[in-house]
């Protein structure tokens, strides 16, 4: 017995509305409406694009982090990898005759390489992802200082980004739209489709849902994990170059603590840290909620500590409401 197309559409609409992403999205819409009333500036397109630009690097890293968390892992090193990749690119542009675009590729490749090392430690040496990437958090930050200072050992805290064309990635506009926002949207769409419509994408979910079952179904666990950690490293490197381009400088303390924002975005967006569940658009909504909150506190001239507290409350609320909802749905 097959359902009629319209009833199938209804049931799939219903299941869509019941997802965590839908709940978080509603929360975001509510937040935007409330802010629209509270501040006359909030809904100005300039402000909205500012908010979007401020979340772009977090959202781009959240793409990779979602995949890592869906496999049941975690990557604490993204903030440091962001800085190391950007520093390498800045240094190559500043001190060498290398084509600036090649320098960008090398920077992203370096991030990918650091991610690959994470994956290697996790799959081959069998170190827990938390520990392996905690180590990388420290190593990559150290490498950032090393690259900034050069082999001569002069202490530098940043290197200017000298190529305007490269900086356009992070600082440019197309019409009123900041270029990094466009890049964010493109990457989010591509990787959302990738997760849903490619074999490797489905295998990422399988690994986190039940590793043993995935292996027995013929999924190559090592390959899947190496992929997600490398991709996350590459995306962190890319985010680093956008970030440095925006500021026209690559700083040694860039991305400090970003890993926690990225993980928070993914968690708010509905991913389970136990693995097997989570979506990229959920994580993007999570990043958006945090960005809107930050913006709101600035516009309303509220103290910064309240903003920090509010973001913590949102993280806990999002996960708690999900728990409560789950308990409710187990009742019937």
């Amino acid at each position: 017995m097959s359902q009629s197309p319209s009833s199938r559409f209804q049931t799939s609409l219903k299941t869509l509305l019941r997802t965590r992403e839908a709940g978080v999205f509603l929360a975001l819409v509510l937040l935007v409406i409330i802010m629209g009333f509270l501040s006359p500036y909030f809904l100005l397109s300039e402000n909205i694009f500012n908010v979007l630009r401020s979340m772009a690097t977090i959202a781009i890293m959240a793409i990779g982090m979602t995949m890592v968390i869906v496999t049941g892992g975690i990557d604490l090193s993204v903030g440091s990898v962001l800085a190391a990749s950007a520093m390498l690119t800045a240094r190559l542009i500043f001190y060498t005759e290398l084509n600036p675009w090649l320098a960008v590729v090398v920077g992203i490749g370096f991030g990918m390489f650091l991610g690959l090392i994470n994956g290697f430690l996790i799959t081959r040496v069998k170190i827990a992802p938390f520990i392996a990437t905690l180590g990388m958090l420290s190593i990559a930050r150290g490498l950032t200082y090393m690259i900034a200072s050069g082999l001569q050992g002069t202490v530098a805290s940043n290197i200017p980004m000298r190529d305007p064309a490269v900086n356009f990635l992070g600082a440019g506009y197309i019409g009123p739209v900041p270029f990094p926002v466009i890049l964010m949207v493109i990457l989010v769409v591509i990787f959302s489709l990738f997760l849903k419509f490619t074999v490797l994408g489905r295998q990422i979910y399988a690994v986190g849902s039940n590793e043993l079952a995935a292996r027995l179904s013929g999924v190559n666990l090592t390959r899947v994990k190496l992929f997600v950690y490398s991709l996350t490293g590459a995306l962190a490197g890319f985010a680093g170059i956008l970030n440095a381009g925006l500021l026209s400088t690559s700083a040694t303390n860039a991305g400090l603590g970003n890993e926690l924002d990225v993980i928070a975005a993914v968690a708010i967006g509905g991913a389970s840290l136990a693995g097997g569940e989570g979506t990229i658009y959920g994580a993007v909504i999570g990043a958006a909620i945090m960005a809107v909150l930050r913006n709101a506190f600035v516009l309303l001239k509220l103290p910064v500590y309240m903003q920090t507290i509010a973001i913590g409350v949102v993280i806990i609320l999002a996960v708690a409401s999900d728990q409560l909802q789950r308990r409710g749905s187990n009742r019937h």
Binding site: T198, R202, Y205, A206, N210, L212, L216, S217, G276
Partner: protein
Amino acid sequence: MSEQAQPILTVRGISKRFGGVQALKDIHFDVLPGEVHALVGENGAGKSTLMNILGGIVPRDSGEVVFMGREVRFNAPQEAIDAGIAIIHQELAMLPTLSIIDNVFMGRMPARLGWISWGELEKLTQKALARVGLHQVNPYTRVRDLSASQRQLVEIAKALSLNARLLIMDEPNSSLSESETQTLFRVIHELQQDGVSIIFVSHKIEEVLQISQRISVLRDGCNTGTLSQSEATVEKIIQMMVGRELVRDHRRGQQNSGEVLLQVSALSGQGFRDVSFEVRKGEILGFSGLVGAGRSELARAVFGADPVFGGEIRWQGRPVRWNSPADAIRAGVAMVQEDRKVQSLFMKLPILFNMTLATLPAYTRRGWIDYQKAREVSQFLVQKLSIKLGSLDHPVSSLSGGNQQKTILARWLAANPKLLILDEPTHGVDVGAKAEIYQLIRRLAEDGVAIWLISSELPEILTMSDRVAVMCEGRLAAVLERDQADEEKIMAYATGTVSQPAAALL
């Protein structure tokens, strides 16, 4: 059995050693096209190892496997699947957070230029589901929202969609009720007609006899013989499995005169409604019913693990309300949960820890644990229950299923309970350990402990119980005295085809 048919699978002289343990020794057997060939044996007899070798999960040390006319050696699960051998693992081999489609096609999603067509997959999945009688199920349903039997059928649908010529089913009906098992058997018969061969691994000998054309018995890694359906009997198989004759269980004398220990009146909760009954000292009260009838839910609510919506519980005559298991344990109730791996055992922690967890306060002196004493008590219980273990300090995961179950029993016996609730105490336990657990339960009852025995196995309920309570869809359908209870009557109440007048329940 036709002599001229060429076996689809021939196993010659397979041996396998894990460290110091000889898991398999010179195994010979074969499977004919369209045959159901059962593989029985106690836990640790080597069934899983043999399956894993055939499925490419572990390599063999020596011997030869011929499948569909050619010698094969699989180095990865995928190679076996490609060749046409599919293993249906117990439930653990599923992806709970993903849809049926993902589960059916994981590892081999058809993709064009790397892209999956969900519409096509949906159709293929529906076709596969229809073959196992799951026409009504939406292929996008998450597997964790399915019932145990539906999951089992999805696993079979998956194997079928692989075009497997040989299905290996590992304890496929261990968590299925009687009627669900019959559905499974119907599907198996249909597959046989299509020429699919099946290796059926099970503990339930009665059902093995019902479904298989031949039965091979493993003991300590050796094949102790292959019987045809006509020559096999339960006694013969058990003898080949354990190498000795087990005395078949006999019912014990009527024990209905003890004082009432627990009285439940009009109790309602999640999954059950308006249930009234009593348990007396020294009696074994069996709880029968289909899977999902509310038996475990009722027991968990009484034990304080789940909330009670209405009704009354009296313990030794006084009304009580236990809000947590800790309250019930303090009063003298113990409960052995259904799924030992999830609800009871700490698999990575030592046996000693697992055994003493519920009674730790008894081994403390001024707040500090006296390990010497805990060890002595545990050692005593190990002997009393004849648990086979290397050391109390080994993780409980090192034990066989039967010995794990005994470890949980030991945990609760250490607490000297007045009422012992057992939820499927012999689930996944081999026959030898089963007989020992039965004996232990009887001995406890003779010592005055009240036993509340939940079981989906009718023979177990019938041989063990003084009275049999039957639940159907959350209600207590009947409480039968032992001499009135038989399989037909219990099944009639359990399936709701008859109902007992409420007055007769009291």
